[in-house]
């Protein structure tokens, strides 16, 4: 059997007002060539100017991935010819990436693992091409957008680990608010390197690169496909060729793009138009302070300290806003398990139904905590609580107001309940005999009491008192 060895190169577009080296807008647009300047187009005579916000976001990511940040910010040119690269070179980092020797924690099937980061570096994105039969169209909107490329060590050993890494990485981007990271908009893309090692081998096998895979599910499929292909070759005594392959989603197959011999020499050299800029340690520390507690760390606390399940923890940390909401509830005195149940159940369920985002809802953490307390205190039943929650999300009204409006507060006064119980018994005397005879009519009595109280009688107290009276 073979050990699968995977390395990933993930490209992710960074948030910033303008592009990495020019002042044109960095923003998604459906109108082609609407966010373009002469600098993006590489017209003769133009010069790049570094975007500080993009650099800041790249440093933030480097720190969030536990990387070392260099003393100076420098850039190299990666030279090659292609229509999506108007200057004929891409400004990137080669010698001193903005982050090196880091790691990202991932968890697969309950097992924690450090995914080692070789480097993360800042560069500019290329234009996008649309290919037709007789022509291709070039849209330069994306050209020059700041791109952070993150390269892992060949330390991932399954498709699951690869996808877990991608999801963890995307989460870091979203938590740090450094990218929208939407696969459907091509803002996060991945090259995958796969090789196989035999048991006992000390050296890595020949690696095959698959370029530009655009969704995480495709990454999984591509890896499985490639592992199968390489396994087949090795089983039959062949040698895997070092090459670059293209993954095709439709056929679920990979195809040769270029071999090692055709490998391009990019002739990297330092870009003379961008003088080295000192990265002050004060600035680094300022940026570090802006990094919130990340998904992995929060999950650990939720699972180990709060005692909620991994599945629920995963649901909560998926979005920072939800996680922040959860933590706010706990800060306001909510019970972690109860809040978790309500959040992952009714709140998220209703939000999804209504197509809302947790940022949009008027049900503040304090209100949810109050609602849960009302149930714990017995003022309303769990079932009623769910109704109130649904209505609160729908109408935007506060739960406490809704409870009064809907007349839902539970009757917990024993005398009051006893009166109603006695009333119902009086109306159904024949059934009292049935009860004493062992027939199952208890629930009918409960039902009648609930009908009279419009569901407001506290079930526990009601049961107790009913039993008492029936036994008399």
């Amino acid at each position: 059997m073979y050990k699968t060895v995977i390395g990933l190169e993930v490209h992710c577009e960074l948030k910033s007002n303008s592009k990495n080296f020019s002042s044109s807008k960095n923003g998604y647009s459906t109108i082609p060539n609407s966010n373009v300047s002469v600098v993006d187009l590489g017209m003769p005579g133009i010069l790049p100017v570094v975007n500080k916000e993009a650099v800041k976001n790249s440093i933030k990511m480097a720190l969030a991935m536990n990387c070392e940040v260099p003393k100076y910010l420098t850039f190299e040119r990666k030279n090659y010819f292609y229509p999506d690269l108007p200057k004929g070179y891409q400004i990137t980092q080669f010698k001193h990436p903005i982050g090196t020797n880091g790691y990202v924690m991932i968890n697969v099937d309950g097992v924690d693992k450090k995914a080692f980061i070789h480097d993360t570096h800042l560069e500019e994105d290329t234009a996008s091409l649309d290919h037709y039969n007789a022509y291709s169209l070039i849209d330069y909107n994306r050209c020059g957008v700041p791109l952070l490329e993150t390269v892992t060590e060949p330390c991932l050993n399954s498709a699951d680990e690869a996808v877990a890494f991608l999801e963890a990485l995307r989460s870091i981007f979203l938590y740090c608010d450094t990218s929208y990271a939407r696969s459907d908009r091509g803002q996060i893309r991945c090259d995958v390197n796969v090789s196989l090692m035999r048991e006992g081998d000390t050296e890595l096998g020949t690696r095959v690169e698959m370029k530009n895979i655009n969704s995480f599910s495709s990454v999984r499929e591509a890896i499985l496909c490639e592992v199968a292909r390489q396994t087949d070759i090795l089983d039959n005594g062949g040698k895997v060729l070092q090459e670059t392959r293209r993954y095709d989603e439709n056929s679920n197959m990979t195809y040769t793009m270029r071999s090692k011999e055709d490998a391009i020499d990019y002739r990297y050299f330092t870009d003379p138009n961008l003088p080295p800029i000192k990265i002050e340690s004060d600035w680094i520390e300022e940026i570090r302070k802006e990094i919130p507690r990340l998904q992995y760390e929060r999950s650990l606390v939720y699972i180990n300290d709060y005692g909620i399940s991994r599945k629920d923890a995963t649901t909560i940390v998926r979005e920072k806003n939800i996680s922040d909401y959860y933590e706010e509830c706990i800060k306001l005195g909510g019970d972690p398990v109860l809040v978790c149940n309500w959040l992952t159940g009714s709140v998220i369920g209703n939000m999804n139904k209504l197509g809302m985002n947790i940022k949009d809802i008027t049900l503040l953490p304090g209100m949810l905590v109050d609602l849960i307390k009302m149930i714990s205190d017995g003022k309303i039943s769990g079932k009623q609580g769910k109704e109130v929650l649904e209505k609160a999300l729908e109408t935007g009204k506060e739960p406490s107001k809704l409870v009064s409006e809907m007349g839902l507060s539970q009757i917990v006064d024993e005398n009051e309940i006893r009166n109603i119980v006695l009333e119902v018994i009086k109306e159904n005397l024949s059934l009292v005999d049935d009860y004493k005879a062992g027939k199952r009519v208890f629930d009918y009595f409960i039902g009648q009491i609930m009908k009279k109280t419009r569901g407001r009688a506290n079930p526990v107290i009601t049961s107790r008192i009913l039993k008492e009276e029936l036994e008399k």
Binding site: V38, P44, G45, P48, Y89, P272
Partner: protein, 477 residues
């Protein structure tokens, strides 16, 4: 011939109008175009901008590798024969805002690569002093337009002496300031770490006046210097007594008793005497011949490498002349094969080779190290001296077809020492210093980085001891 101050006075007292000056330049340009071929484009009109600057209303010429919105800019290359920029270079914008009148775009060696003025796509530029000779390059047309009296000043670019050499061959003043002093935004890049914009005029004062207008920090150019808040044109009259200059002993050897070189050295001796009369001390200093001989190969290595990358945008895909083919690769290849001359292709091949992974350390990075060694050596000497003074060239402007030994010391060292100004970004100026065989010759003064005013000051004073300021090659009829 009138310089900027004289013309400005005439404008102010009403004896001429800017219309008259402009039309006069246009007419002269057209008159001399067939014989000397200074221009790629002669414009039809100008936009009158109100300005009280010292150059408002004054016509000038701009090298055709500077981006001018709406005006054809070809870099004298076929691949850009149809290219009309959509933005202005900063230097052009500053001149426009100062009210100066652009009257034409001048011929250069293709893509600024060359030192003969013979490789532009619209033909060779002839020397106004003798049309059987070149005027050097790459800023050939700009130098000629000033030497012919068509304009009082012109803008050129200098990557390896491309302003300062044609200035010497053309008998005019050519100044390359400190690297970053004039913004490069809009200058079609040749070798980014060596490229400078600079000024031609017929006297040092005019050069200083124009430099004052076009210098300054530019947010579009990260290599541009912060403003130095100095007005050069007021600093050039300072007393230069006590200044110390050196010349390079090894560069002035004449072991073969070359007749022309002997005359150059003779002329240089006269200039040294002028310096002494001003109280400037001129001393001989020694620099190892190995280092001096390395100047030209180092320059070729670095500049070819950088230009290969800088000119990779010339594909004909999104601007310029589109090629033909069935794939992007074919189309790009076709455009570039047809659009570049053999000389350009040779430099691109060299540059590519030099940057290849297996060669870069030895050929490119070593060249960068040698550049550092040369600059360190000059900086060491600049601790004691205020500048270098040297003949600008090893001879007069060569005749077309004249052969020269590229590996001789005379060529390697004396004809290429001004590259030192590009290696270290030093401010450097050539001024006319006399005639040999009826052809003008010049001397070059190079100073410490940022001391542009010192270099201009020294040059102005030395110019004042001679009678070659304001000369033009042809008398106006």
């Amino acid at each position: 011939m009138d310089g900027i101050l004289e013309l400005k006075e005439k404008l102010n007292n009403g004896s001429v109008t800017s219309d008259m000056l402009f039309n006069n330049s246009i007419n002269l340009a057209k008159k001399y175009q067939d014989e000397y071929n200074s221009f790629v484009t002669i414009v039809d009109n100008y936009e009158k901008i109100d300005s009280d600057s010292k150059i408002s209303g004054i016509p000038y010429a701009l090298k055709d590798n500077v981006s001018t919105k709406g005006i054809l800019t070809t870099a004298s290359s076929n691949i850009l024969s149809n290219y009309v920029p959509v933005y202005d270079a900063t230097v052009y914008k500053k001149l426009k805002d100062a009210g100066a009148l652009l009257m034409g775009k001048t011929v250069l060696d293709e893509l600024a690569m060359g030192g003969t003025g013979m490789t532009g796509h619209t033909g060779i530029v002839r020397n106004p002093w003798d049309s059987s000779r070149q005027i050097g390059g790459s800023s050939a047309g700009s130098a000629a337009s000033v030497a012919l009296g068509i304009v009082p000043f012109a803008i050129g670019s200098d990557t390896g002496d491309s302003i300062r050499k044609p200035a010497a061959y053309g008998g005019v003043v050519g100044f390359k300031p400190t690297y970053g002093r004039i913004s490069r935004y809009g200058l079609f890049a040749f070798a980014s770490s060596l490229d400078h914009l600079g000024v031609f005029a017929r006297n040092v004062r005019d050069v200083a006046i124009v430099t004052d207008i076009v210098k300054g920090h530019d947010i579009h150019d990260m290599t541009s210097l912060p403003d130095d808040d100095r007005e050069y044109s007021t600093l050039i009259d300072n007393d230069v007594k006590g200044k110390k200059l050196f010349y390079i002993k090894e560069a002035l050897e004449n072991n073969d008793n070359d007749v022309e070189l002997a005359k150059i050295l003779d002329n240089f001796d006269k200039v040294k005497e002028k310096c002494t009369s001003l109280g400037i001390e001129v001393c001989e200093e020694s620099i190892s011949k190995d280092l001096l001989q390395a100047i030209y190969p180092t320059y070729m290595s670095i500049s070819c490498a950088e230009v290969t990358s800088n000119d990779a945008n010339l594909t004909g895909i999104h601007f310029g002349v589109r090629g033909e083919g069935n794939s992007p690769e074919e189309i790009i290849k076709d455009a570039r094969t047809k659009g570049f001359s053999e000389l350009i292709k040779r430099r691109f091949v060299l540059g590519s080779y030099i940057l290849q992974k297996e060669n870069q350390e030895k050929l490119f990075l070593n060249a960068c190290r040698v550049r550092r060694m040369i600059v360190d050596k000059i900086n060491e000497l600049f601790k004691e001296y205020d500048g270098i003074i040297m003949p600008a060239a090893a001879g007069i402007a060569p005749k077309f077809g004249q052969k020269s030994d590229k590996l001789s010391d005379k060529y390697l060292i004396l004809d290429n020492h001004m590259v030192i100004g590009n290696f270290g970004g030093y401010p450097s100026i050539t001024i006319p210093s006399g005639f040999i065989d009826n052809m003008p010759v010049g001397i070059n003064i190079t100073g410490r980085v940022m001391e542009d005013d010192v270099v201009l000051n020294i040059a102005n004073k030395i110019e004042g001891t001679m009678e070659y300021a304001n000369q033009i090659a042809k008398e106006m009829k």
